[in-house]
């Protein structure tokens, strides 16, 4: 159980350091305004967009878990879905053009769509399903309604913990560049995670399927 929650945190840090999830926007907001308060404000907007994207992906799965007897199939299906997204990103290496059309001030929308386009929420699904499964075992034969409510709560908790970790990681990079290192380090800390990101999705999905089959 603890390992799964750590996975939620680590995936958050991983998303946070990826410039594709928006920390350069926080730096630019603070410099363009120009006042320091713009930086936390931008981070908060990015966090909100990311959180909404996470919850938007997790909640539908919460409803699916209601079908307890299909648990195994759902988890394998989710794993396949995550792998498929990773493979798609591996094959289609083009950047989502839609993100370029968003007004630079609409950070919540940008962050939401960026997370969606990169399958950031999908990366959390296997972890979330794992937490729910373990929870269900612990709860024994609780009423389906209680289980459902618990799972919704878990979805929010997972999305929140993940988003906090993401914001902290991206925020640290943004603040260090803004306050100390300067813009020259913007391009130096900017790594191409496209390939690693796509591979991560494939691995997370694959691991989820493997553990479902072996674990049962």
């Amino acid at each position: 159980m603890a390992a799964l929650w750590w996975a939620v945190i680590v995936s958050g840090i991983y998303h946070g350091v990826n410039p594709g999830m928006g920390w350069p926007l926080a730096v630019s907001a603070a410099l363009m305004e120009p006042k320091r308060a713009a930086l936390p404000k931008a981070l908060a907007m990015l966090a909100l967009g990311h959180f909404l994207a996470m919850i938007g992906i997790l909640l539908p799965f919460t409803l699916l878990i209601f079908l307890v007897e299909w648990d195994r199939e759902i988890r394998i299906g989710a794993g396949l879905l995550v792998m498929a997204m990773g493979l798609y990103l591996l094959i289609n290496r083009r950047h989502p053009k839609i993100l370029a059309r968003i007004h630079p001030a609409r950070l919540v929308l940008w962050s939401f769509l960026a997370a969606m386009a990169h399958g950031a929420g999908l990366m959390l699904v296997p972890i979330y399903l794992g937490i729910c499964a373990v929870g269900a075992q612990d709860a024994g034969h609780a009423a389906a309604g209680d289980l459902m409510a618990g799972n919704v709560g878990t979805a929010f908790a997972v999305a929140a913990a993940h988003t906090l970790a993401m914001t902290a990681a991206g925020g640290v990079i943004a603040i260090v560049i803004y306050l100390w290192l300067g813009l020259k380090f913007l391009s130096k800390t900017w790594f191409n995670l496209d390939l690693v990101w796509a591979v991560s999705l494939v691995i997370v999905g694959g691991f989820s399927i493997f553990s479902t089959i072996v674990g049962h």
Partner: protein, 466 residues
Amino acid sequence: MNLRPDPTFYASPKIAMQAPVENYAFTVMLCPDGSQSDGLAVIDLNPKSDSYGEIVHTVMTPYKGDEFHHFGWNACSSALSPLSGHAFLERRYLIVPGIRSSRIYVFDVKEPLEAKIHKIIEPEELFEKTGYSRPHTIHCGPEGIYVSTLGGGGPDGTDGPPGIFIMDCQTFEIIGRYEMDRGKQDKHYDFWWNLPQDYMVSSEWGLPPQFENGIVAEDLLSNKYGHSIHFWDLRARKNIQTMDFGENYQMALEIRPAHDPTKSYGFCGVVVDTTNLQGAIFTWWRNEDGTWKSKKTITIDPRPEDPENLPDLLKGFSAVPPLVTDIDLSLDDKYLYVACWGLGEMHQYDVSDPMNPVLAGKVELGGIGRGTKHPNGKEFVFGPQMVEISRDGKRVYWTNSLYSSWDDQFYPGQDGGQMVMARVGDDGGFELDKDFYIDFPEGLRAHQIRLEGGDCSTDSFCYPSA
């Protein structure tokens, strides 16, 4: 695709100024009568090199009659846009349109000494996908490479208005038209933008029949060339304001926004005021309420001249109009260089206060009825025209052709192409470098210059210099 951003992508104008200086220039060469192919010249700018100041490589095209004019990079500092998150393109390809043929060449200049043609987009593809013709200015922006055009459809380019189209910055596929609502815009020339502030400004020359076979004097005297600039909501692709400078301000050409993205102003050069033959620069800016304003901040007077020394076109005026044909702004937004192609002068204005420019330096070279020689004693045909400033602002390069058929009207009997360089003093002022003088091969003229690693009219910055 790199693992790190291209080192020639600069977050801010200030970082671009501090970056290593240019080692090469790329200058387009055009054959005025279409008897030879046009091409790209690679010029050595490394002072330590044995071939410094020489053409070290040329790439000629397989076609004739393209008429090269303006061109630009496949990727620039705008790739560091915080909205993109994917800064891993390479500044590697030059997109060079033929404004007469509507053919577009993509040159691979990764190894400048082995530069080669990477792709050719035939005119038919452009016509079919966009309905536009005569491609011109190139900028790298949201969603890809933006290209302005001077003509619409049909054989003479007047079937529908000209506009901007977008190309993919990796495959160079033409994606389609940019505009969703063009408002009053019916002519086109240059455009540029401020990416974080999300606005674009575009300008007007004239329609193809007004320039392809030479300047049409009746159209000019009846003020039928462009005299408006257009402000756009960049990402909504919508014309939000058309600003008419006044119909006497004929040919509003180059748009030069301040490079620092926190600033909301810029300049536009006007070739000629038909009421008094002056050249003019307008400063445009955004008001508190979001509307755009402009004011004429520089005027350059014509020079009286004996009609005997004037081309037929100008004999009746007994004067040489300055003909402001190109302007360029240094990366620190401090100096605006103004090419007076008719007078044969390059002006340097201190525009630290954009509303009150101050003439800081002047170089005389070529010119109608004057033909000032280069300090090395050699000819400089026509007048100073396409101007490009090094990123650090210390060297200013320029060539001399305006447009083949116009060169012949304003400078009958002259031919050739040169590129020169002036050095800028620490406190302003500038002087021609006696030792830098490039004479282009026989039968070819020279137009726009691009500097290795970006220059003052290619790169759009997404972060302020602060």
